[in-house]
């Protein structure tokens, strides 16, 4: 899976879970009101379901933007 496809898949899930249809491809968590702590849990679980992975506690601390999550996903996919 190329990084671009991975980003598209990630964005699709984030838009559904956060209920932000026009979420920017480089959105920062602090700029998205809907990305609160409850939705963040939803997002973690939805991504783990979709990509068949488990995030570590340390990785979850870096869930601060679309780009940051994409970096973690890429790293985990490459390591798999």
């Amino acid at each position: 899976m190329t990084e671009e496809i991975l980003r598209q898949n990630l964005l699709e899930i984030m838009r559904t879970v956060l209920k932000v249809p026009d979420l920017s491809p480089h959105a920062e968590r602090q700029a998205v009101a809907q990305w609160d702590s409850l939705r963040n849990i939803e997002l973690i679980f939805a991504l783990e379901d979709a990509f068949g992975i488990e995030f570590t506690a340390e990785e979850l601390e870096t869930f601060t933007s679309v780009d940051a999550i994409l970096r973690i996903l890429t790293k985990k996919k490459n390591a798999a």
């Binding site: 559904t16 879970v17 939803e42 679980f45 939805a46 379901d49 979709a50």
Partner: protein, 572 residues
């Protein structure tokens, strides 16, 4: 929207949504993002609403977003109220609800199983003082703890234990994930959270709130086996291991009292040969209470099946692999439940095992008697046609047993009140807790009426609740199962039971409040005949008759009447 309309889901929600959603919702491990997406329609679809209080000591929030998709599929909107976190379960700020759910993490208590159960019993009693709604305790624990809770549930009407550890074992997934206590406020594993949402919406809550499905009509080709019988023949249709598992699941349901019918476009001879020759098929011809094999429309076959089984379409689930057949049934059989058989029969089994309204908390003795009772119906009709009434009753050896205040069968009585549509005079839909309160009241009594003959035991078929008001005896609830109808026994089942209720002693008048429902014409016709009226009593009528009509009634010769008395205070 009335409760009864919940089952008419296919009229409200498009069948195409259901057919698309089915494989997603009932996947081995459904994906959270997809469930959220499929639940987005919830705001646009009017559904009957049920309020559920969630009393909790760990986070319920990870479940919330998964519920709308399953609610839509179940045809019921769960309006949830979440309590603050409270390890004491003190139920402060109580507001009435249709169901109470205790969402309890047992790891937060250092109590041995017996002390834990005693504490739960105390908490349930406290909640019961505020609410007569069903109570579902969703928790987990070692087998000894869960067994002890199940024993407690056996003693408390309308209290049920949902065992999350058993669910985890059923789906071979981990129950707990230590990471999640910090991340999500619950120790449950991510996968189990998803499957718990499904179990709550489709089994545990639906099992207490939705009208039950009583029968399954199932297609044959590409549903019970792989291949087309008419094309490849009896020996070459393939029973895969997944199809075998599906057949075994249907057999289990049949053993629990769900009636099975086969509806197939085939030659009847081929189908008979199939069941005769394929000894590897777990399902046999005798498992089916009705067989409709023809080249005519399946909707017409389903209508004949419903009439034969004496049930409405809303109590019938039709399984077929062909979407066209499902659309045809949806168009001509209003309210029918529909499930699409999948190419992978294990997906059909998963959807069936979770189909809302099919899973029940309890199956009564009467459920298991249903198929046998139906099988001998034809013999009764023949006898009725061939003999005079006295000889008919004598030859059948009809026995009616009136049990007064039988607290041990509260769930069966609640089932009669909530499930009977045709012979139900007041349509009050009482639950077990409400019926128990009549048993314990000084001025009221409850009669359960059982019926048997030499052909079959029909079990408890009647519920009558009467309450004294000065010299008038008011019939608060009167229902007869459809299994007791058509045998000319209505008067014999009802009038001696009314006269036997102790609180009716000395009453001069008998009063029948009447509710008018879409299908309770048979009950109202009976009352009209009793009063000599030419028109059916309608809603908000209350028919008043001299009590002597019950006191002086004598059943036809050949019917044996027996009276059993119980003391509800003794088992408390």
């Amino acid at each position: 929207m009335a409760d009864g309309e919940a089952s008419s889901l296919s009229q409200t929600l498009s069948l195409s949504w259901r057919l698309q959603a089915q494989p997603i919702l009932f996947d081995t491990l459904p994906q959270r993002a997809q469930l959220i997406q499929y639940g987005e329609l919830i705001e646009a679809i009017p559904l009957p609403r049920k309020r559920i209080n969630i009393w909790r000591n760990h986070a319920f929030e990870p479940i919330l977003s998964l519920l709308p998709a399953y609610s839509l599929y179940a045809g019921i909107r769960y309006d949830l109220w979440l309590s603050p976190y409270d390890d004491t379960f003190s139920f402060t700020d109580y507001t009435s609800a249709d169901l109470e759910c205790l969402w309890l993490d047992p790891t937060r208590y250092a109590l041995d199983p017996s002390s834990f159960t005693a504490w739960i019993a105390d908490r349930i009693a406290d909640l019961r003082r505020r609410s007569s709604a069903p109570i579902v305790l969703a928790t987990w624990g070692e087998p000894e703890r869960i067994d002890s809770l199940h024993r407690l549930a056996g003693q408390c009407p309308a209290f049920y234990v949902a065992d999350l550890a058993a669910l985890a074992r059923e789906v071979h997934l981990p129950l707990l994930d230590a990471r999640n206590t910090a991340v999500a406020g619950t120790p449950l594993s991510r996968s189990l959270i998803t499957l718990t949402a499904r179990a709550l919406a489709c089994r545990w809550w639906a099992g207490a709130l939705l009208p039950p499905i009583k029968a399954i009509a199932v297609d044959l080709d590409h549903t019970l086996h792989d291949g087309i019988l008419a094309e490849v023949g009896v020996e070459r249709v393939r029973l895969t291991s997944a199809h075998e598992h599906l057949q075994r699941l249907l057999m289990e349901l049949q053993e629990q009292g769900i009636l099975l019918a086969l509806v197939s476009r085939n030659e009847a001879f081929d189908v008979e040969q199939l069941f005769e020759k394929r000894s590897d098929y777990p399902l046999r011809r005798t498992h089916f209470s009705a067989l409709e094999v023809s080249w005519g429309p399946k909707s017409a076959a389903l209508a004949r099946i419903a009439a034969h089984l004496k049930i409405g379409f809303d109590a019938l689930l039709f399984i077929d692999d062909n979407a066209g057949e499902l659309y045809e049934a949806a168009t001509h059989c209003p309210g029918i439940h529909l499930l699409q058989a999948q190419e992978d029969a294990s997906a059909t089994s998963r959807a069936l095992a979770n189909y809302p309204g099919l899973w029940r908390w309890q199956r009564s003795r009467e459920d298991s008697l249903r198929a046998r009772d139906l099988a001998v119906q034809h013999q009764r009709l023949l006898l009725q046609e061939q003999t005079d009434p006295t000889a008919y009753f004598r030859e059948l050896e009809v026995v009616i047993v009136i049990a007064l205040n039988p607290i041990s069968i509260l769930e069966r009585l609640a089932s009669l009140s909530t499930r009977t549509n045709q012979f139900n005079l007041t349509l009050r839909r009482l639950n077990a807790v409400e019926i128990e309160s009549y048993m314990r009241a000084e001025e009221a009594d409850v009669a359960a009426v059982s019926l048997s003959d030499r052909l079959s035991d029909s079990g408890t078929v009647g519920l009558i609740i009467g309450k004294r008001s000065e010299t008038t005896f008011i019939i608060e609830e009167l229902c007869l199962s459809c299994r007791a109808l058509g045998r000319n026994l209505e008067d014999a089942l009802i009038l001696p039971a009314i006269a036997a209720l102790p609180s009716s002693r000395g009453c001069e008048w008998l009063q029948f409040p009447v509710a008018e429902g879409p299908r309770n014409g048979p009950a109202r016709s009976w009352l009209a005949r009793l009063t000599g009226a030419t028109e059916l009593p309608t809603a908000n009528h209350s028919i008043r008759l001299p009590f002597a009509i019950a006191a002086h009634y004598r059943p036809p010769e050949g019917i044996q009447l027996r009276l059993e008395s119980h003391n509800p205070g003794a088992s408390s």
